[in-house]
């Protein structure tokens, strides 16, 4: 069999085989946005480029046939630079944000648009999961959160922000009534023990997520009852105690131990706690700065000094989060940090790496939209879905109406989007080539559930390849030339009709959020099984 060399690896190939196939078989990963098995290679995205010795331009690996003795470079800095530039060019014409501004602002990273969509779709289980993915105390925050998310809502400037806080409050209440959330399934025990000092919002939140990751948690607090500032700094008229108690009881039901009325202000106790634990988390709330620090940890006037990414203190095995590292009156920030600290501790204990928070991922955000684009978003918000869809679920109609106002200005495929994934991987800068003309933000919902957003299309040609390979009628075609190329259904037919039997296949194949389905919206790790 003939052979070629890819990244110093000698590989055999069948005559007539493209480089991409050979590389993939050998376990080398070459990114591609347009190649798809079963269709003629569109060779459009140029993200799969490789360098072939002796040729002065780059070759798309998806369609360049392997030749005997060929020497291919797929992992060099030069190749990576061009891939990055291709991604940056695609980002420059990609009209749409990955995340909505509400989520970007939320200190706990709650996936608000997905939650709204699930409420409208009547998906109680899905909505509960989405909320609980990020908020260990959704009902509590539903009462007391100052809701910074609502200030960022795009709709705020049009006809008032979506009442986001009411939404997760509503989800929490509906879940409480249904009793569904009280029995979350736990993974097998990891055998690791974590001690958390402080039973306030940060401590409770970290205990919740650590338990879900299989670690045995103990919360130590000097007060009589858990809740910290939520109980001792919040008026019961603002935060009804039954809500707080209910959400703490859920945490308890996960097996979290509470050692109340135990002071940890002396070094000996701390030493003992550290002795019996694999990790220790300070979620103590703000320490009065005149008190001596019991541990030999680096501190500043703000609080305990930590690594901003991992929440590790200068002391090995010891972490800190919440007001203990910087004072704030934002409960939602403490809840968010509790979760992030939990993930970091998990990584420390097991080596498991977690997906970065959405805020640190690539986001193709456009900034200010044109008035016409806003009008378009409003006219295709969730309220534009048929009434029977919106009435079908397990939420009260006012809540559904409220959630229906969400413009869904994030992307329907933000988790599955290959452009986003590769942009993250190649550190593509969305603004590098944003020098002028871009596509228009546009969205059309079809009765079949298809959502078509031509502004996000990167003209890869997959859907056209699929419809043409299966002779779907009338099919799709590229229209126009150059930058003005668009994928269109002939004679202004409906897109879903044009794709015919290949509709689901096309939606699945679309590498970005140009084709997606409303009912398939779900949060990052939400698994219906």
């Amino acid at each position: 069999m003939p052979t070629l060399t890819i990244d110093q690896q000698r590989l055999t190939f069948e005559p007539g085989e493209p480089i991409l196939n050979v590389a993939t078989r050998a376990g080398l990963s070459i990114p591609t946005l347009c190649h798809l098995k079963g269709i003629e290679p569109p060779t459009s995205c140029y993200v799969c480029v490789v360098k072939i010795t002796g040729r002065n331009s780059l070759a798309p690996a998806c369609a360049t046939l392997a030749e005997e003795g060929m020497i291919v470079e797929s992992n060099s800095e030069e190749v990576h630079t061009y891939r990055k530039r291709a991604l940056e060019l695609l980002l420059s014409e990609h009209a749409g944000d990955c995340e909505g501004p509400c989520r970007r602002i939320c200190p706990a990273d709650l996936d608000i648009p997905v939650m709204a969509s699930q409420i409208v779709g009547g998906d109680l289980m899905g909505a509960t999961h989405t909320v609980r993915e990020r908020l260990a105390l959704p009902g509590v925050l539903g009462h007391i959160c100052i809701a910074p998310c609502e200030k960022g809502c795009v709709r705020a400037a049009i006809d008032g922000a979506v009442a986001i806080r009411e939404l997760h409050k509503g989800v929490a209440e509906a879940a409480m009534r249904s009793g569904h959330e009280s029995k979350p399934s736990l993974p097998p025990s990891s055998g690791k023990r974590v001690t958390i000092i402080g039973a306030g919002p940060a401590g409770l939140s970290s205990a919740y997520y650590l338990s879900l990751l299989g670690h045995a948690c103990t919360i130590v607090d000097e007060r009589e009852e858990p809740g910290g500032l939520l109980r001792y700094g919040c008026d019961p008229s603002l935060l009804p105690r039954e809500i707080l108690d209910h959400e703490i009881s859920i945490i308890q039901s996960l097996g979290v131990q509470f050692e109340m009325k135990r002071s940890v202000r002396d070094p000996q106790t701390l030493e003992a706690l550290l002795e019996r634990s694999d990790a220790l988390l300070f979620a103590t709330g703000a320490y009065a700065s005149d008190q001596p620090w019991p541990f030999a940890m680096a501190i500043s006037p703000k609080g305990i000094t930590v690594d901003v990414k991992t929440f590790e203190t200068s002391q090995k095995q010891v972490f800190a989060c919440g007001n203990a590292i910087a004072a704030s009156r934002l409960a939602v920030r403490s809840v968010g940090q509790g979760r992030l600290a939990a993930l970091s501790i998990d990584t420390f204990l097991t080596g498991q790496v977690h997906a970065p928070a959405s805020s640190s991922r690539t986001d193709s955000r456009l900034g200010k939209l044109e008035p016409e684009e806003l009008r378009q978003l409003v006219s295709s918000d969730l309220a534009s879905l048929p009434l029977e869809v919106r009435k079908a679920g397990s939420f009260a109609l006012p809540l559904v109406e409220s959630a229906s106002r969400c413009l869904q200005c994030d992307c329907g495929k933000k988790e599955a989007c290959a452009l986003r994934t590769y942009s993250q991987e190649y550190k593509a800068d969305r603004d590098h080539y944003r020098t002028g003309k871009r596509k228009q933000v546009k969205r059309k919902r079809y009765p079949s559930g298809l959502v078509h957003e031509p502004g996000k299309c990167i003209d890869c040609g997959r859907c056209i390849g699929i419809t043409s390979a299966s002779h779907a009628q009338p099919g799709l075609a590229f229209n126009n030339r150059g930058f003005d190329v668009t994928v269109k259904a002939p004679f202004n037919a409906d897109m879903d009709v044009a794709m015919g039997v290949t509709l689901e296949q096309c939606i699945e194949a679309c590498p970005v959020g140009a084709l997606w389905k409303e009912k398939q919206r779900k949060s990052a790790t939400w698994n219906a099984s």
Partner: protein, 817 residues
């Protein structure tokens, strides 16, 4: 006729006039059915069908496209993809007449943009519309009409107007309506047959016709007939001296002497003929005598000057330089042959080479001769022709196709048009030799639809070849058989790329594909296919007749032979020239072209069109050679040579070419589709005075990426105009970033101002289209800068040269006052 038709088709005239058909009526449907029956039903017929509908309705009515899908094998997605790909097709109704403003390179540098703006202002089209409110004219830009020496050029329906200015643009519309509405100006091709006394040769190439030679031709015919002079009035191909059209040459049969007349008007024709020939009959002599006297009495018009002043003396230095430095291979017998006269071509060694090949050379010997001659593809990239033929020949066991690429898309070049119009038989002969050498069984002329005369002439020439046994079955009585057909391109520069051209012939969007496989292995419908440019084919008969050595003796070791260029722009003697390879650019500009017009300084030559680059005057001693040009950041290209002077802004030139390539990109590859757009964004903002620091470097980075990451030649070479102008004129880019356009071209960076030299004659004020100059007789005029649209009309009209363009700090100082 069905009932539904009574409303629209039976108009006042009562007859079923096709042009009044409404798309929705059943007669239209029937018309389409007939078209389909004529053209065919298979998917590859989509372009001819669309062209038929467009010709009839001036746009593509959706109802009819749907109907086409229902009665053919063409699918709705194919028809929508194809009909939106090619520039020729419109999807919304058009006005009664179409005004096409040529924005080719030569026209651009001579102010086509201002002409377009003036047209738009005059027609007052509504926002987003391209048709005037009365529905009379539709205004379009066209990539190139190939009449570059008459720049700026405007075509209204099929009438071409040269040397249009913003001031004369509205008059042209009026003139058109008065003179041409409703009648077809297509020149007659019938030559008179008597030639006892000699010949009157009148150039009827597109440039000449646009210059008014059709009228000259008709008058000559009338005069000869009325005076009974036995001379042949003959339409001939391009003589190359396009800067002096219309041209008329008179040849005396007995003495063989000839006189050349340039810039002839129909008015002068009779006088010239009467002076050159004495009518043989008494009646004729009397008539001539009377006419001579009458015309002298009644024509005191200034333009009616005595004939000798028009006479172009070949001993005159500029003419001698223009013609003397040229060699004639592809353009042999230029200006002497009636393009479609087959016998005449044969009398001038025509088809001798073909006979030699078929009767006494083997295909291998022919290929060897072409290889030894060192002939390289004249379409642009310069691939060795012999090698290409050899590769196709190697697959001759399968059905081989041969294609003549006449899809000349370079805006600012017209070599292919001229060769097809003036030397149709030479191109056909070269193609037949190639067909014989590679074993082809079918042949196609792919000619762009913007060249109607070339299409007419090739069609006629093919028919005459068939009639004489030079085409079709058993050519020249041998077993060699092949026929050629014509396919019209529909307006897409990228279809000059061979794989895109093939896709287009197959009835698809003209999108290039990855090579290999090369067309030599898998081309048209998967068959081995040879594609060569017109000029490549036109060079072959000469090589066969004179031998490889003689051809190789012309030119340089790596670039053999001669090259046809269209020499245009700010040159004194523009035209179609053929020069030996190795001649320097300076020799071409200063000697052949007679230097820069209007005594301005020679700044640069743009060679190779959108794929080429700008060579500055300081580097003009560069020889015309494939390798040398690439080394200098340009390329040979197909032969466009646009000369630029000190008033041309190099950033504007780069932006101009990027606008072109960006609009012509097929849209497949990310780097070309988005990258060229981003380059254009940056160039546009630099020209608009909104450039930011780092823009030049950003342009360079993008240019390099687009060149590296594009599939076809269009993308790979699209950055060349930008890279070469940055390389040689970086200081101009930098000046723009600082708010100044040194050439005084970029309208956002300049102002017009009136100096104290103004005498207050009010000409500027009268001619200003936007009333930016108050009418103040006898006082120094003032321009209101905020109203001024920078159309340049006032500056051109000022008799005292008192209107100046200012930029940069000077402009700022003036604005403060």
């Amino acid at each position: 006729m069905p009932d539904t038709c009574k409303t629209c088709c039976q108009s006042e005239t009562g007859n079923n006039n096709q042009s009044t058909l409404k798309p929705t009526c059943s007669a239209s449907i029937q018309w389409v059915d007939e078209l389909v029956a004529r053209v065919g039903k298979t998917p590859d017929k989509v372009i001819p069908i669309l062209q038929g509908i467009q010709a009839q309705f001036h746009y593509l009515p959706e109802e009819l496209l749907k109907h086409v899908c229902s009665v053919t094998e063409i699918s709705p997605s194919d028809i929508s993809g194809v009909s939106t790909f090619y520039s020729q097709f419109r999807h919304r109704p058009a006005g009664l007449h179409t005004v096409k403003v040529c924005v080719g390179t030569a026209c651009h540098v001579k102010g086509a943009g201002a002409v377009y703006d003036a047209m738009a202002r005059h027609l007052a089209c509504k926002e987003g519309e391209d048709t005037d409110p009365q529905g009379l004219f539709t205004l379009e830009k066209v990539a190139c009409l190939g009449c570059c020496t008459l720049a700026p050029v405007v075509q209204i329906d099929s009438v071409i107007y040269g040397h249009v200015t913003p001031a004369t643009a509205p008059d042209i519309l009026k003139k058109f309506l008065q003179e041409n509405a409703g009648k077809s100006p297509a020149p007659q091709l019938t030559s008179s047959e008597v030639e006892e006394f000699g010949e009157i040769r009148i150039g009827l190439g597109s440039c000449c016709v646009a210059g008014g030679s059709a009228g000259v031709y008709e008058t000559a015919l009338e005069t000869v007939e009325s005076l009974g002079i036995p001379v042949r009035v003959k339409s001939v191909g391009c003589a190359g001296m396009c800067h002096r059209t219309p041209l008329m040459e008179i040849v005396h049969a007995h003495s063989g002497s000839s006189s050349f007349y340039a810039k002839v008007t129909p008015h002068d024709v009779a006088t010239i003929i009467r002076r050159q020939f004495t009518p043989p009959t008494l009646e004729g002599k009397v008539k001539a005598w009377i006419q001579n006297h009458v015309s002298d009495l009644f024509s005191p018009l200034p333009e009616h000057v005595a004939a000798p002043e028009f006479n172009l003396d070949l001993r005159e230095k500029p003419v001698a330089d223009f013609l003397g430095r040229q060699v004639r291979v592809a353009t042999e017998h230029y200006g002497q042959l009636d393009p479609v006269d087959l016998e005449e071509y044969q009398k001038h060694d025509g088809f001798v080479a073909l006979r030699t090949c078929i009767e006494s050379l083997s295909p291998e010997e022919i290929i060897a001769r072409v290889t030894d001659a060192g002939l390289r593809g004249r379409g642009g990239a310069g691939f060795p022709t012999g090698v290409k033929w050899q590769r196709v020949r190697a697959n001759a066991s399968r059905p081989v196709s041969i294609i003549c690429n006449g899809d000349e898309g370079d805006p600012g070049a017209f070599m292919d048009r001229m060769l097809l119009e003036s030397f149709p038989y030479r191109v056909i002969e070269g193609m037949l030799i190639a067909a014989f050498a590679v074993g082809a069984r079918e042949g196609i002329f792919y000619i762009r639809t913007e060249y109607p005369l070339a299409l007419i002439r090739i069609r006629e020439a093919l028919a005459r070849c068939r009639a004489k046994g030079l085409l079709g079955k058993n050519i020249l009585g041998t077993t060699f058989s092949i026929d050629f057909e014509i396919k019209e391109g529909a307006g897409a520069f990228v279809c000059g790329e061979e794989t895109a051209l093939i896709r287009s012939l197959e009835g698809a969007r003209g999108m290039p594909r990855l090579r290999p496989p090369y067309p030599a292995q898998s081309g048209l419908r998967g068959n081995p296919t040879l594609i060569n440019n017109c000029e490549t084919f036109a060079s072959v008969p000469w090589i066969i007749r004179h031998g490889a050595e003689q051809y190789h003796a012309i030119g340089t070791p790596t670039s053999a032979g001669s090259k046809v260029f269209s020499l245009t722009g700010k040159i004194r003697h523009g035209g179609l020239i053929e020069v030996p390879m190795g001649m320097t650019l300076r020799e071409i500009v200063e000697e052949v072209g007679g230097g820069i017009a209007n005594d301005l300084a020679f700044k640069a030559v743009q060679i190779g069109g959108p794929s080429g680059g700008c060579i500055p005057a300081s580097k003009a001693d560069l020889p015309v050679d494939y390798g040398e040009l690439v080394g200098a950041g340009a390329m040979m290209g197909s032969g466009g040579l646009v000369v630029l002077d000190e008033r041309d802004c190099m950033v504007d030139i780069a932006r101009y070419f990027l606008t072109f390539t960006q609009s012509q990109s097929c849209g497949r590859c990310t780097f070309c589709r988005v990258g060229t757009r981003r380059m254009l964004d940056i160039l546009e903002r630099i020209c608009a005075g909104k450039g930011v620091q780092g823009d030049i470097e950003r342009l360079e980075e993008l240019a390099q990426s687009v060149a590296m990451g594009s599939l076809c030649g269009l993308g790979k070479t699209a950055p060349n105009p930008v890279l070469s102008t940055i390389r040689y004129f970086r200081h101009e880019y930098e000046a723009h970033l600082k708010g100044s356009c040194p050439a005084g071209k970029c309208s956002a960076l300049i102002s017009y101002t009136i100096t104290p030299a103004c005498i207050g004659c009010t000409l500027c004020s009268q001619n200003c289209p936007v009333e930016a100059i108050p009418f103040t007789p006898h006082e120094r005029h003032v321009i209101n800068d905020s109203l001024c649209v920078r159309c340049d009309i006032c500056r051109i009209n000022c008799p005292e040269s008192a209107i100046q363009i200012v930029t940069g700090s000077e402009r700022e100082r003036l604005c403060q006052h």
